[in-house]
């Protein structure tokens, strides 16, 4: 069993410095890693990123993040990423990272993701260049996520987690106006997860949504936007599925010994 703490949409600025630190300092008792599901800042400004970095620096568990749309607003995502990395945060975009928890390898694949909508009610790569670019961007994020999850499987991870900012499913958007679903997520992300496999999907972005959902392939999805979970973070205890435990753990051991 591994213990995953996760939160998104903390939207930190200079006036919220220190807000989460007391709760984060309890992580050593309750979690093996902390996932940050994007929108960590308000405008994506370096000084806001520094507030986030200070909030998580020196924590006793690995911190893994993806950026969100707010973190892109100032058009300096590279600077935001560099500041977070300088505080020891693993920032993912179309890539994965592996952590050893107890005897198990835990893989996190991350991408910000993007919008477009859900199967049967979504945008297409057609028409104006802006529309094609929009959908291509989402497809590129989904392809990066799929590739990262596949690499984590090859690395023998006993647990694989997909971390995004935008939602892979409409389930966790319940409570949001239907009209804005295409701006909140894309089925392309869920399709990538279902094809490559994952044990849990974590996202943010939908403040008025709900916590629990499923992909059509049966992967559990959790919306950890802070206004949704109403805590500094949520904690998920992931237990190995009895049918796959032997195969995955054996694979993990082989990689670890190699």
């Amino acid at each position: 069993m591994i213990r995953v703490a996760a939160v998104g949409d903390i939207h930190m600025g200079k006036d919220s410095r220190g807000l989460f630190r007391p709760a984060f300092e309890t992580l050593h008792d309750c979690a093996d890693l902390l996932l940050l599901a994007g929108d960590l800042t308000r405008h994506g400004k370096p000084d806001e990123a520094q507030v986030v970095a200070d909030e998580v620096t020196g924590l006793p568990v690995p911190v893994v993040a993806v950026l969100g749309n707010h973190d892109h607003h100032d058009e300096r995502p590279e600077e935001v990423t560099a500041i977070l990395r300088s505080a020891g945060v693993t920032v993912l975009e179309g890539e994965g990272a592996v952590f050893k928890v107890g005897g198990a390898l835990v893989g996190v694949a991350g991408t910000k993701g993007f919008g477009g909508g859900f199967a049967g009610r979504c945008g297409s790569e057609f028409g104006e260049p802006e529309m094609k670019s929009f959908v291509r961007r989402t497809r590129s994020c989904a392809d990066g996520l799929r590739g990262a999850l596949e690499q984590l499987a090859q690395a023998g991870c006993a647990f694989r987690i997909a971390l995004t900012h935008f939602s892979p499913v409409p389930d966790t958007l319940a409570g949001e106006p239907l009209e804005i679903y295409p701006f909140l997520g894309s089925y392309l992300l869920a399709e990538a997860m279902d094809e490559a496999g994952a044990d849990l999907a974590v996202h943010g972005h939908a403040h008025q949504g709900t916590e629990h959902g499923l992909t059509s392939g049966g992967i559990r999805v959790r919306n950890v936007a802070q206004p949704v979970i109403r805590r500094a973070f949520a904690i998920y205890h992931l237990h190995e599925h009895p049918d796959v435990k032997g195969v995955k753990v054996a694979g993990g051991v082989e990689v670890a010994e190699a």
Binding site: R42, H207, R231, A232, I235, H237
Partner: protein
Amino acid sequence: MATGPDAAAGKPGATARNTEYRIAHLQERLVGEELAEMGMRIEYRGDTVHITGTASTAGDREAILRVAAEELPDMPVRADIVLADATAPDHPEEIS
């Protein structure tokens, strides 16, 4: 028929549309200004504008109310804006 006193029937509709646009402009201001606030639901119900959502800090909530008062000075505004809770959770969810 749009004649006589009933001709005024067009006015409430026009007012409602006007309110719709003003609410849209309020939402644009909340997003565009320092707040970068995209998580508020703003609806016009029963001649009152209702603002619902979760704010990060008390200062944010005050700022949202201030901007709403500036954009809609002649309209009653009711706000159900709760503050985000930054305390640690008291229990995990078991996922097997």
